[in-house]
Point group: C2
Chain length 199, copies 2
């Protein structure tokens, strides 16, 4: 008798339990569910994870997650509107895209400036943003950062770096204080984008 | 420009959102987490899912989930104690195994009898249980079914089928260890009171 069989399924439960939002109990339920839905769920999930594991990377231009060196938004001529929307995280980019309202490109900082965590401009692709504004004929930069202290500190720092002939805007009030974009519904984000103000 | 890149990641989010306990939002968070932890989590998870997708099946003897035709518990001579613990679901088998107390084998029914859902004995491996009791020198069958009406109906049906020289038992009912009376339902308190013991 070997323990190999037991170990494969146990290993799967342990890995699933490491996902945010899943603990050991829900991981066990998920694994049972997967095994019962092998053709419909388990095999497609295994195949898609393999593909994503082999191909997913950060876009060299904007930091979006992509399966090529430069993401679809950065390569699409339709998105060359002269606008860049600066977000903290890929999840914020996804939240913006779900509204379908913004037609320009993005710049994903990957966080906010933080003295406490020793995160400076170089960790956040801010130099790259400054380069892009010059190189891509940008006329407007929308700072869609979270309404937190660190988010607003970062917005002010970027505004200082981007002095010149471009319009600088931020999302309108309507984003609640302390609110994170990824938690907001599409309607709120759409309203805030449409009512954006110069800063 | 193709949408292939976007689609792989979107497809992954959609599949993850079908897992019990995960919705679209937590699926997005999980996928971002996976992509950020590629070496530590994404690749191992993809590999393990592939292995389980290719090998997981139900044990032909007991219904446990296994990666061979007959599971490790059924093939281990150490587990040939003459006891079979009958459970509704593989998750119940796992719960019993986590206690480490039961040393015998299992029989997973795969549900309970239900007139409403038209689930009869043949759907539940009950004929197979009767065969096993004769073939495996079984001396005791522990009916570890849930304390629901369907669970108890099923226990009675099985007890009727297994008349003979074997001992039939069920799990004791009472107050769970650490349980507070105020949080327990009346049925549990009643059962615990009726089965009270001298101290
Ligand atoms: Zn990009
Ligand atoms: Zn078995």
């Amino acid at each position: 008798m070997t323990d190999r069989n037991l170990t494969d399924i146990d290993a799967l439960i342990e890995l699933m339990a490491k996902l945010p939002g899943l603990g050991p109990r829900s991981a066990r339920r998920a694994v049972l569910h997967l095994i019962r839905k092998r053709a419909l769920l388990l095999t497609p999930l295994a195949d898609t994870l393999q593909t994503v594991a082999e191909t997913a990377r950060e876009c060299l231009n904007c930091g979006n997650i992509s399966t090529s060196d430069v993401c679809d938004i950065c390569t699409s001529n339709k998105r060359a509107t002269g606008e860049i929307c600066v977000v903290e995280d890929v999840s914020d980019l996804w939240a913006m895209e779900r509204t379908g309202v913004f037609k320009g490109r993005y710049h994903v900082l990957g966080g906010t400036l933080s003295a406490l965590d020793a995160i400076g401009p170089d960790e956040l692709r801010i130099p790259r943003l400054v380069d892009r504004v010059a190189a891509e004929n940008i006329t407007e930069v929308i700072l869609a950062l979270n309404a937190t202290i660190d988010g607003q500190t970062t917005a002010h720092y970027i505004a200082d770096q981007l002095h010149g002939n471009i319009r600088l805007t931020s999302l309108a009030q309507g984003v609640p204080i302390g609110g994170e974009l990824d938690y907001l519904d599409e309607g709120t984000i759409t309203a805030a984008l449409q009512a954006r103000k110069d800063i």
